[in-house]
């Protein structure tokens, strides 16, 4: 293992201690519970936005807790769901009477735990609604959208729902917009190398030096095809086509682009991918409103990248453009 860590078993908690030490003005643990992270400030009457998920995906999930985005996050072990109890703790901490919206990725363990947490919260008199993000077109065919994994595209859900909640929109409304984002975002990725869970100590899967897997999930879930590593432009063509065809995105659409690195892939390469994405979208007559390039949802030190497209309407565009300020993502007001 080529890792800068101490004891593998302390990986998550020490990472969290580093986060609280680094951003004391922005986030804090609930009652000393490191794995229940909330904003330092709470706005009365605002809908609380909570997420949660396994560790190992920074900035996901906790990295988006902050102004203009989320209010709290429950944190699981590496690639493991947090418990429903943690989720309940976060829910109670962030509710200020307007109810709480859960936004999380479509993974069995997370879904069940958030379901349980929602039931418990309701029993405590907190209104909870849920939005499950699943936009990886490689993970299930069209028609089975509800089986799709949630990957980097959840960033758009956080960003847009977060901006709306910040405007004091009511729970149903925030949920409506969050659902709309889920319905309009699509992602597909490619992996070039595995990653190693600290407590496991060996790679999650094997992938030879000259190999890639198209459509692989962020925990190493199987993709659609494994084969020799292709040129960047070919890779883009191969992952962009299913995205475009799925929604489908058509001439005249306006989209926001997210080029996401999985961990070990340099930003230089992400921009080489973006070059091709921009070319293809241009030739398809699809307009790009704003491009995000960087690491938004990672798998530890996995090499690879994903491309997400969000089809915008005026409402989503207005909210996407709003400012945000979290430990991992800062955006000034964008020109609309």
């Amino acid at each position: 293992m080529r890792k800068l860590i101490n004891e593998p078993k302390d990986f998550v908690n020490e990472m969290l201690e580093g986060i609280y030490a680094g951003h004391p003005d922005m986030v804090k643990p609930v009652d000393g519970n490191l794995r229940c992270l909330v904003r330092t400030t709470k706005k009365e009457g605002k809908v609380g936005l909570a997420t949660g998920g396994g560790s190992g995906h920074l900035p996901l999930f906790l990295g988006y807790v902050g102004e203009g985005m989320l209010d709290g996050c429950s944190i699981g072990g590496v690639f493991q769901s947090p418990s429903s109890e943690q989720m309940l703790i976060v829910t109670k901490a962030i509710d200020s009477g307007a109810g709480v919206l859960y936004i999380y990725g479509n993974y069995g363990g997370d879904v069940m735990n958030f379901d349980m947490a929602a039931e418990m919260a309701e029993m405590e008199g907190i209104r909870v609604m849920q939005v499950v993000a699943g936009e990886d077109v490689a993970s299930a065919p069209k028609g089975k959208e509800d089986k799709r994994r949630g990957v980097a595209g959840i960033f758009f859900v956080y960003k847009i729902a977060g901006a709306y909640a910040e405007e004091m929109a009511p729970l149903e409304e925030v949920k409506r917009v969050a659902d709309k984002v889920c319905a309009n975002v699509r992602t597909m990725g490619v992996a070039l190398s595995p990653c190693t869970i600290p407590e496991v100590g060996k790679p999650t899967f094997e992938l030879g030096e000259g190999e890639m897997e198209i459509g692989m999930g962020i925990h190493g879930e199987p993709g659609v095809r494994r084969g020799p590593l292709m040129k960047a432009d070919q890779v883009v063509d191969e992952i962009l086509r299913p995205i475009l065809d799925d929604l489908p995105f058509t001439r005249g659409d306006e989209v926001s682009v997210l080029i996401n690195g999985l961990g070990a892939t340099p930003k230089e390469e992400l921009y080489i991918l973006n070059r091709r994405v921009a070319q293809v979208l241009k030739s398809e007559g699809i307009k790009v409103y704003h491009t995000y390039v960087g690491e938004f949802a990672t798998s530890l030190e996995m090499a690879g990248a994903s491309v997400s497209l969000l089809r915008l309407d005026d409402e989503m565009k207005r909210l996407l453009a709003k400012p945000a300020n979290t430990p991992f993502f800062v955006q000034p007001q964008l020109q609309v």
Partner: protein, 213 residues
Amino acid sequence: MSAKNTLTGNDIKRIFERIADIMEETRDWLGELDGAMGDGDLGLTMSTGFRKAAEALRDLDEKDVGKLLAKAGMVIGQSAPSTMGTLMATGFMKGGKAVQGKEEVQLADLAALVHAFVEGIMARGKAKPGEKTIIDSLHPAAQALDQAISEGRSLKEGLAAAYEAAEKGVEATKAMISQHGRPAYYQEKTLGKQDPGATVGMLVLKGFVDYMS
């Protein structure tokens, strides 16, 4: 210990110790079963979860079997928040509710418990029999308990029948295609493989059977 026809809270505590032992003994095997199409953590989560549950029960001054089971479920859910941990939490909490208030449970109570357990899991996981999950070992087990009651069997005989049905259920999962969790991504490739979660269901029953003999 012969002709024992009820289980008290104390028995339940010792059964959880036995289940924890079984999960520890089978840890690597469960890990391998899960690793084939899943993330391979099942041995780890189940041995940790049941050990913590057994420890929590040991220190608990509580006679109500239902409350003990509910407590065990909560502990497993917190210490192993994986799919199976969460399903065990739901199952034991729902199952516990079905026998709440009883300081001794009979075969009929156990049947109610397992039925509630399975229904809880089905609701939580939005799954039904035949989809290659833990349900496929526990649902036949619940039915076997019903049958044993209608045939007037003893507690020991009933549990043995349930275990046997669960074993067959596990075997039957080999012919199924996974519809839930990570293995579902592999679809047809899951044919021929036994479901790790169903295996866990069977092992939990084995804990009861082992304790009775």
